[in-house]
Point group: C2
Chain length 731, copies 2
């Protein structure tokens, strides 16, 4: 049988033949292990495929049956009448490889492998996964999974999914795309969203991603005209570089990409690993990568879907301030407390809005936000909801209306009226988004039906809505960071030929200095007399530090003396220090005495950098000194970054307030940003040799320099090690 | 008609005759404005009263009808055949006073006034409320409300409530008592709880609390044998002293009192005020009062009910560590991330548990918490849930089991199995509490029915459960603070006869010193020569500060000089300062020069105190110096407090870590606690004259004193003003 697609892509590599687009538009689907028994995967898959209107050919494979659900059955894969575009496989793990080989033999385009027990189940499973993949690739066949639940495409009337949640008359369609590393999480999100009337374009469960991976699906959703917002449940990123590219494409396409990431914490990471063998990597580095590309991280799937649905009409909209319209003063008060906690501002109504509401409410409530419709002069369910909603949505200051609804004599009517008001405002061109919070239990079920039918967005949980709004506010501030501009006057490359392993402070500071990062002046002396000579050429007071390859924690053994006033003091201190060290660390090789000008800033920062195995060198900047022990005040970005990005990082810190006005006087934030950027270029330019850098403290507001690095540690890998690593990671 | 209760209480004041107990056991109830029309308050009240099995006499009042719902009607209040124990009134505001008078005339015991438009509606409404109250009190009649929704007592089969949420066949009974300042919030909480099978003993909507108030109802619930946990929605406290007494009683009775308080934030407080005219007062002071009495503050009604239900079997149980049992590895990973965020520890299973689970799971998952039942060797819905739940509940380290359930082929069976496991463990004496998280939408509805029927606690929201557990952890740490012990050697009373208004630093420090709080030595000089003389008697370096009634911000005008080394330097600085001040603040009266020994601590704190209009003097202690601008690190308690309580406060602070180990060396936390306690006694002993005190900075770890107050401001009221205020507040 001749196939159009083969003809069309004759010149391309066979294994790239089937795209997500192709898989979503199959002319035929084979269900291996098909059944009418809904306790079996093959039974549920067949039922959903038939039920939701797939228009192509279905080839159920079952050696014991002539037909299933009235569809002709085939006794083996070899017996199918034509090469299936897509096959779904849910056979026991041991049978998977033979099944894949048989499907390859009949020129199947792509296979969805539901079966688990591969790289998710230890080394033996991982070997099985490699074998399966090899069998598929030889024949140019694509694989989704294994250890997945398939896909749900309401937009294409195609359901290839084993979840019983899909046994419903009709799947709601919508503009949300969903990609999930967990099948159960996908089906649960889908079912939960369906209950509130929120629909999807396409949903993919991607499992172990043996072949097709996260970005194959996200790239498809970015290009797909029926998808406006992309939601993802993720455990770990498989291909960091591609992730960054895809994330940038999503941002440029104006499609918000929301990710709920499991494994943010140590216990979560352990749980995620035992689930789909995803190494979570460093969450900090992942978060930095997301921020850089405008991807929003959330922590709750329900809040993610609520936000995505709220965004779906106008994905680029910023949140702005919120108006609250409620049936209960008490509920209104609780709601504004929570908005205030989350830092979401309340609207102050325009005079026009206040005028429009004046005759509806008692004088002491007119113009107040929240609007307590329960206190309306005419009572609830009288149409006051329509007028209120209409007026508040027309208010130019309203970014979103939040409507917590409590039990009341006629909640159904109240919600009908609310919807009517929203429709009236929308018809007049004021399509302000709104979320109804349905607080009752079953007393609100009929009203929920009203909202679903009207496609009005609602949630049963104020918590969930507050989380969604707080996330929306973060999303509104996200920007795609531009490529980093290089600061002026950098060396061609860092001079590290002679360095290896733990680099001493003097050498580390020379490197910093060569990249234009101010350090306090100093020089390593040979002996006490040399120390005096060096001090005589510097400005006091002085610091003296021992230089010895055996001594890492210098101050613990008397290897640091501060506040030396004169060159003579320095000489005496060096002599004393020699005796102290000889006594406290017998056998230590003293290679020198580091004489430095002492500095005193108004604020201590630290600038650190380390290599993330997935996302490369990342820069950390934060509060230093005693603050390190009190607050985790750190901002993270990938290297390199320019001063504009460094300013964004600094502004994320709690100590930004101190930088911008320290007890009245601003410190030199520009100099700090410059130092951060230069540090990032240094570690970037160190390339594969870079392991770890810690500049701590960085003093800001010293009388002599705006910024000065007074201590630094650097660790490099050996020149050979980096290449080995690079080769491994490109395998 | 002779009434037993009147006989029994003949000697007591008439207005105290009817207690909450009496109101909950009426022999007869009159419904003023009764109707069969469910759009009317009187219609809904009559229907619920009849439907839920009230056994006493019902007197519907309706001049147009002979009977309603088959019950004989009366044309007027005067026509009722016997004095009603309780009447419910939902007539228009203008008709309330006449109705109250008529009810009083027939010797009604207590009236529930549903009608709004009283102190909740401005000054005219407040006058109407006073008149209504006067009419009731003359006749010794009690009032619940106005502006309330009535009461719901499943324990007594008595529903006197206008909410349509009560039109259900049966109200679930339970051990939770509920008191709500908002009627809509009460009915909504009730309906929402009912949907998850959680029941109540008694619920009260208390509205404006014109007569009967919060503590009348809470005191009843404390004494009520059918109530084990008390839940409250509160906008503001009416009688602070009684609140404290009631809170202590609840703690001593072992009944957790959970309060959701609206008006925590400025916008919430404004909304609460316009709702029931409740002045929220200072949230800090309220929170301090609650902590002192072991009352738990929460911010979400749904989470409050979930926690209360989880607590209701064993209200004194501490949370401990959590085991997670789930149908999905993804959901498990997300759950442990959230537990970790909330600081709730995960159980590490005992060997016995691991052994019990070993054969059920693949080797790479055995013994892991979360337990991913979705990866069980035998598959889901096979009974693995029963064995897993049983084993985990028996684990002595499990404080609670959290079971997030996703969509799965047979969720109903899975939940049946879970419940069977829980029942098995409980029967064996391991009644570990558990909460099922139902994450699907409608796919989980049948499973929810299973859980409801088994009275298994569940929530649709992981968020809500995490909030409840975090609150439970806080509750586990709450203790009733003992009465404060007085520190040794305090003066009989503070010497403030000569002081008034803003007290200068020298006088404030003398007061501190008289209470045993260390201050840096110093004396006020008349002129430059006197300053030199004083300095000669002190230890340098010195600080010099201008003393002038016109100058508040001394350092802004050159009125503070630090780091003076010698007595001569002090004299010169005083002379210079005189010229500077004359130039920069022409006409300022210089009354002296405060010469002090300069101090340098390792850590800066502040100790503050102010008068709360409701809860009296409160003490605030927190991080000082630059930390004030960075983190809100403050602990609050009511004065007076002893050193034991002061230590508890200090341990709440982020800087507790620094106190207990500052860069390796511990500071003298005992000395800080002593200073905090002494400050609290000082402001306590100042009584009504105290307004505000700010000791900032307090230096800890100075070489000369463990703790030293180096600056202080105090504001007192005039001797007469305090009495006036006291008289007003007792009105």
């Amino acid at each position: 049988m001749e196939r159009d697609r083969e003809t069309g892509t004759a010149g391309s590599p066979i294994r790239d033949r089937y795209t997500v687009d192709d898989i979503l538009s199959p002319r035929s689907v084979a269900v291996v292990g098909a059944s009418e028994d809904l306790t079996k995967f093959g039974g549920r898959i067949l039922k959903s495929l038939v039920q939701h209107g797939f228009g192509g050919a279905i080839f159920p494979i079952n050696r014991a049956r002539q037909s299933l659900l009235g569809i002709q059955c085939y006794s083996s894969i070899a017996a199918v009448p034509a090469p299936p575009d897509v096959a779904v496989v849910a056979v026991p793990p041991d049978a998977v490889i033979d099944t894949i080989a048989a499907l390859a033999a009949v020129h199947t385009g792509a296979v969805i492998v539901i079966t688990a027990g591969f790289s998710d189940a230890g080394p033996a499973g991982a070997r099985r996964e490699s074998q399966m993949l090899a069998a598929a690739r030889t024949a140019g066949m694509r694989i989704i999974g294994p250890n997945c639940l398939g896909l749900i495409s309401p937009a294409n009337n195609l359901v290839l999914c084993a979840s019983p949640a899909l046994f419903v008359p009709q799947l709601p369609q919508g503009a949300l795309g969903l990609v999930s590393q967990s099948g159960a999480v996908m089906a649960t999100i889908f079912d939960r969203a369906m209950a509130r009337g929120v629909g999807f374009s396409h949903c993919f469960s991607i499992g172990n991603q043996a072949d097709m991976e996260l970005c194959d699906f996200v790239d498809f959703l970015i290009a797909d005209p029926r998808t406006r917002v992309i939601c993802t449940y993720l455990e770990g990123v498989k291909h960091p570089d591609r992730f960054l590219q895809t994330a940038q494409s999503a941002y440029r396409a104006g499609k918000p990409w929301l990710i709920v990431k499991a494994g943010r914490t140590a216990s979560g990471a352990a749980a995620a690993f035992s689930h789909t063998a995803s190494l979570a990597g460093s969450y900090e580095a992942f978060a930095a990568a997301c921020r850089e590309c405008g991807v929003l991280i959330m922590d709750d799937p329900d809040a993610m879907i609520l936000l995505a649905a709220a965004l779906s009409h106008d994905p680029r909209r910023s949140l702005g301030a919120v108006s609250v319209v409620t049936t209960s003063g008490g509920s209104g008060a609780l709601t504004v407390d929570r908005l205030s906690d989350a830092g979401v501002p309340l609207v102050e109504f325009t005079d026009a809005t206040t005028d429009a509401l004046r005759d509806l409410y008692p004088p002491n409530l007119a113009g107040a936000n929240p609007v307590d419709m329960g206190a309306a002069l005419g009572g609830l369910a009288t149409g006051v909801e329509t007028q209120t909603m209409d007026a508040v949505m027309r208010d130019g200051r309203t970014g979103l209306v939040l409507a917590p609804i409590t039990t009341a004599p006629d909640i159904t009517k109240i919600c009908e009226n609310l919807v009517a008001g929203a429709q009236r405002a929308t018809a007049a061109g004021y399509s302000t988004p709104y979320i109804v919070i349905m607080q009752p239990g079953r007393a609100g079920d009929q009203a929920r039906e009203v909202l679903r039918a009207a496609r009005s967005l609602y949630s049963d949980s104020l918590d969930e809505a507050i989380r969604a709004l707080a996330a929306w506010q973060r999303l509104s501030r996200l920007r795609l960071l531009p490529e980093a501009l290089k600061p002026a006057v950098l060396p061609a490359r860092p001079a590290v030929e002679a360095l290896d392993g733990a680099v001493d402070e003097a050498a580390a500071k020379r490197l910093l200095s060569s990249y234009g990062i101010p350090v306090n002046p100093g020089e390593v002396a040979r002996d006490a007399d040399d120390a005096e000579r060096i001090a005589a050429g510097l400005r006091g007071p002085f610091v003296l530090k021992i230089v010895s390859p055996e001594i890492v924690h210098k101050s613990d053994v008397g290897g640091v003396v501060l506040g030396l006033q004169t060159a003579e003091d320095v000489r005496d201190a060096a002599a004393d220090m020699t005796r102290t060290i000889e006594r406290r660390v017998p056998g230590a090789t003293i290679t020198g005495y580091f004489v430095q000008e002492m500095r005193a800033g108004k604020l201590e920062l630290f600038i650190g950098a380390r290599r993330d195995p997935q996302f490369g060198a990342i820069i950390l900047v934060g509060a230093g000194g005693i603050l390190v022990e009190l607050i985790r005040d750190v901002a993270v970005a990938r290297a390199p970054l320019d001063t504009a990005t460094a300013h964004l990082l600094l502004d994320e810190l709690a100590i930004a307030r101190l930088l911008h006005g320290y007890r009245g006087a601003a410190l030199d934030a520009g100099a700090v940003a410059d130092a951060v950027s230069r540090t990032s270029w240094l570690v970037h330019d160190l390339g594969d040799r870079f392991e770890e850098l810690d500049i701590n403290p960085v003093l800001v507001g010293d009388p002599h320099e705006s910024v000065v690095a007074v201590d630094a540690r650097l660790r490099l890998s050996s020149p050979g090690a980096g290449e080995t690593r690079t080769m491994r990671s490109s395998l």
